[in-house]
């Protein structure tokens, strides 16, 4: 188990990481989620031994980082946020360097490089210079660079930044394969959908503090309403009286105006949805479609922190 206990880091008067604690079980994939400047990368830097914590400890399988940094580092692979590649060298030459840093050489190094390139789907480009690669290929090679020494724990710092959706999917597949191989993954991102898709558990961090540490399902349960349905109507916007009537139905926690109709929030729509449809029909309103208005992790984040996860996401997240 990776155990992070009361980590602290200051830069001058600014507290970047403030008493952060969480665990990652072997084979588990945990997302470290938070907006830019929340302290994710600083936390990852301390876990990977790049920077010294001002307080707290990091241990993996009982081995403390500060007592045996070299042995600890051999068990950890870091995928930095900035591309850690020499553009002027070939893919295999890059991997030879990174493997060499962990003491690999000769056939063992060549075999590991082949495996890593195969895993990220770049086996046929091993001899090509990196400067000819697309952004997505570079990101995948960046991941391969952390796998040469077959680490048990892989730390990924925003590994999909700046790549197109297709490349992002390819990276997700790479990470899923690592997960299938039993690797422990700690993954920082500010993309909710990535965390939701890949992670067994999510640690939400904001202003240097852990504000939630739960499974995706567990996080959803923290919201007062766990579900929403949008009823699209044929006709003009409904009146406040209609909304008040719907809100008064048993099981409905809220009835809100929606650009195309009405948004209903409820803990369980099993019985209440039929009541709502009946009432609208009685009032002479025709329902043209029903769609899910399920809450997202973004809603969870807003509920927990009071602000949006990404710059520019506020408008989209706020009704």
């Amino acid at each position: 188990m990776l155990s992070i206990s009361h980590l602290q880091k200051r830069f001058g008067h600014r507290i970047a990481v403030d008493d952060v604690s969480f665990d990652v079980a072997i084979g588990e994939t945990v997302g470290l989620l938070g907006p830019n400047g929340a302290g994710k990368t600083t936390t990852l830097s301390m876990i990977s031994g790049l920077s010294q914590p001002d307080g707290g400890t990091v241990s993996f399988q009982g081995q403390l980082l500060d007592q045996s940094a070299s042995r600890f580092k051999r068990r950890v692979g870091l995928v930095p946020q900035d591309l850690a590649l020499y553009d002027e060298l070939s893919a295999s030459a890059n991997l030879e360097l990174f493997g060499g840093l962990y003491g690999l050489s000769g056939k063992r190094l060549a075999d590991r490089a082949d495996d890593a390139l195969a895993l990220v789907g770049l086996a046929d480009r091993r001899g090509d210079r990196v400067k000819g690669f697309s952004g997505g290929m570079k990101r995948r090679l960046n991941i391969a660079g952390a796998l040469l020494h077959d680490p048990e724990l892989i730390l990924l710092d925003e590994p999909t930044v700046g790549v197109d959706p297709q490349s992002r999917n390819a990276i997700f597949e790479n990470l899923a394969e690592l997960k299938r191989r039993g690797k422990t993954l700690l993954y920082t991102t500010h993309y909710m959908e990535e965390a939701e898709r890949l992670c067994d558990r999510i640690v939400i961090i904001d202003h240097g503090k852990v504000i939630a540490n739960d499974t995706v399902r567990g996080l959803y349960r923290r919201l007062p309403a766990t579900g929403a349905v949008v009823l699209e109507l044929d006709g003009p916007p409904v009146s406040d009286e209609v909304l008040a009537g719907l809100a008064a139905l048993p099981g409905i926690s809220a009835a809100l105006p929606d650009p195309k109709g009405i948004c209903l929030e409820a803990g369980d729509f099993g019985a209440t949805l039929a009541l709502a449809l009946t009432q609208l029909t009685t009032l002479g309103l025709r329902v043209t479609s029903i769609r899910s208005g399920r809450v997202s992790l973004e809603d969870v984040f807003i509920a927990l922190t009071g602000h949006a996860l990404r710059d520019g996401a506020v408008a989209a997240a706020t009704p």
Partner: protein, 387 residues
């Protein structure tokens, strides 16, 4: 000790260097072309007419009134700095480049020259030992010797009321001058390109040192640095690998430039080959340490490159790579000894065209090694391993 990591880092640096073929070509071809130009322009010709005073040695084996008077006249000459010494000392000083010319007046010179003034027969021989790179100085000394020689010999000839009948046959220079170019190997011809190649090699290898330092700063600004730092590698191992890589690359460049110098321009390592190799290693080590020091004290790649270029060009000028140091004013010649480049250029001169032995390389190697140690100490002290 993570030797595999050190090997990987060294191999990677060499790989990056060789991959940029244009840089390799520029790093070798440009110094060869510039050295060829300087060698052609200056080669074998003397520049000392621009210098303040020409250092010469006078060997007075005659100890006659005439020879003493000539020595005194030369000593008063504003163009010269005169040191009186023995023949063997003079040979050694010329060979080492400490004096540019040695004038040797043999025993019996005064009497023989006085007699020959009228007869023109049995003229004594004055030996001029010259530094092959200072041929213009020898002509200046030759002219002054003629001026003061005629003056003193004539005075001697007429001092006792000697007959002037000989004048009817005319006067002639009452001695002959035999010129010898002094190097350790007397039969080795002087090659004017040797000095310029020493200078340009020093200059362009220092440029490579700057590139190595800037590359390290750029690495720090990229994700590569995080990957290196997250590996089980200590600061000392990393710095050792960088020093070794840059030293090897510099030696490679050094070897290529001198290969061109030897094969195309006929430069010869006429002195100690071991001394030449030690000088090359010491200078390349200094270059690696210099680059590492730049990376340690520099904040950004672009600012460091600009600052380093200014410092390097200054060091190169003081080292006599562009204009030989003997044309400097006396004070600057002394001051330039503080520049390691001066020792590198002088050392390479000594073991190439000056044909000197291992002893001539010892001090330059020690100075270069000590300077490398200082640069490395600063680099280790100032290098920011942690972010």
């Amino acid at each position: 000790m993570n030797f595999a990591a050190i090997r990987a880092l060294v191999r990677n640096d060499v790989r990056i260097y060789i991959t940029d073929r244009r840089a390799v070509i520029v790093g070798v071809l440009v110094p060869v072309l510039i050295a060829a130009f300087f060698g052609y322009v200056f080669g074998g010709n003397d520049r000392s007419e621009e210098a303040g005073k020409i250092p010469i040695a006078v060997v007075d084996e005659d100890q006659s009134g005439v020879s003493r008077a000539i020595t005194a006249d030369l000593g008063k000459e504003s163009l010269l700095t005169v040191q009186v010494m023995t023949r063997s000392q003079a040979e050694e000083r010329v060979r080492a480049g400490k004096v540019q010319v040695a004038a040797i007046m043999p025993a019996g010179f005064g009497d023989a020259a006085t007699r020959a003034l009228f007869s023109g027969r049995m003229r004594p021989q004055v030996d001029l030992l010259i530094d092959p790179s200072q041929s213009m100085s020898s002509r200046v000394v030759e002219g002054l010797m003629a001026q003061y020689g005629m003056q003193e010999i004539t005075r001697e000839a007429f001092s006792d009321g000697a007959s002037t009948s000989g004048l009817q046959r005319g006067l002639s220079l009452p001695y002959v001058i035999a010129t010898s170019r002094i190097t350790s190997s007397q039969n080795t011809p002087y090659n004017g390109y040797a000095h310029s190649f020493a200078g340009m090699t020093v200059q362009f290898i220092l440029f490579a040192g700057i590139d190595a330092g800037v590359l390290l700063l750029l690495t720090r600004e990229r994700g590569i640095w995080q990957r290196i730092r997250s590996a089980p590698l200590s600061k000392s191992q990393f710095l050792f690998a960088r020093t070794l890589a840059t030293t090897l690359i510099s030696l490679f460049q050094f070897a290529l430039i001198y290969t061109a110098a030897i094969l195309i321009f006929g430069v010869r390592i006429s002195g100690s080959i071991l001394g030449f190799i030690l000088l090359a290693i010491a200078f390349c080590l200094l270059n690696a340490a210099f680059g590492l020091m730049l990376a340690s004290i520099g904040r950004s790649a672009s600012a460091t490159r600009g600052f380093a270029m200014v410092v390097t060009l200054l060091l190169v000028m003081l080292g006599g790579a562009w204009v030989p140091s003997f044309v400097f004013p006396k004070w600057l010649q002394q001051a330039s000894l503080a520049a390691p480049t001066r020792w590198a250029v002088d050392g390479l001169d000594a073991v190439t065209w000056r044909s000197q032995g291992l002893g001539a390389a010892v001090w330059p190697v020690l100075v270069l090694g000590a300077t490398a140690a200082i640069c490395l100490t600063i680099a280790i002290w100032r290098f920011r391993w942690e972010d």
